[in-house]
Symmetry: C2
Subunit: 204 residues, 2 copies
Amino acid sequence: MSSSKLPIDFYFDFSSPYSYIASEWIEALAARHGRTVRWKAVLLGVTFQAAELKSPVSHPIKREYSLLDFARSARFAGVPYTFPSKFPVATQNAARVFWWLDASDPQRAADWARHGLRAYFTRGDVDLSNGADLERLAREFGLAPGQAEAVAGDPGWKGRLRDACAEAVAAGAFGAPFFVVDGEPFWGNDRRDQLERWLERGAF
Amino acid sequence: MSSSKLPIDFYFDFSSPYSYIASEWIEALAARHGRTVRWKAVLLGVTFQAAELKSPVSHPIKREYSLLDFARSARFAGVPYTFPSKFPVATQNAARVFWWLDASDPQRAADWARHGLRAYFTRGDVDLSNGADLERLAREFGLAPGQAEAVAGDPGWKGRLRDACAEAVAAGAFGAPFFVVDGEPFWGNDRRDQLERWLERGAF
């Protein structure tokens, strides 16, 4: 492992099934190649809007395929998956908590990301946009009562998330998961093999 | 190899880079698992319209990524690739010739598909929507002078292509390449590994 190797930027949204699947393999893949991962919570809607896109599930025909493919891609990756009863949901509050944690401890922020993604995509009945659900997740995670709500309503953390979304768009993200390694962008859970080849051999 | 195994339906567009890449591996993949391939030329625009989608290259931000990803995905698959000087182009004439050939010899139609895809995506200066270019390709392929133009202007083959596009949409296609095997849909060159697992083990 060389200390000169740059981290992998990993842009994700808490309500993105492919982000969830990727979140389950990205750390091991990075570690195999002496890299670290820089997790970055963003809002998929902001990246869609910048690229004049909509969610795949808001398109006729593509919606049905996408729902099938989310589940099949999770099985293919060996990742547990239960389609959430409410989908998609607004994730800005979970993302603000992420950035609040990140300011002092990026590793703990990544742990929160995994906690939120796993809860949303495996329990089936979690609604990240619901205050009571978010509070329950925050308490499970070890946060003080009311802390998540306070962070979610704080203009400072709202601004931090806005900046993160703008940075993602500037980096070329128009969806999630979106990875950047050594300046090279990779979009989608399905670019795992290309990302791995890049890490193994460099530019190809 | 069991004769009871269904063929793999392979919907492609002559102007789709990911269709081109997939066209270079689909036959070998099918053969490894005792399957045949049923090639089906369609118009990407018709499937986009049905799903209220646009080409990835007509979206800001996603355009730049897509151009990079077309080339990188070709290199990843070990397939020669030169970005066409005119892209995308209308492909209905090439597709009508495909269906004309298909009516008497599906294997020869598949050969025409490969001939057209390779010419468009490796020579760099071929415009499939241009009458002279199409005529040159048709002559290289062994068609009689003027045959391609006659087929392209024939209401019967226009209708056959229309039917093929409608069938693709009915099968759930909203882009290309789109595969259906045993009723299971797979969208994209990047679903190759999932398609192969399906062929190996059945439903997963």
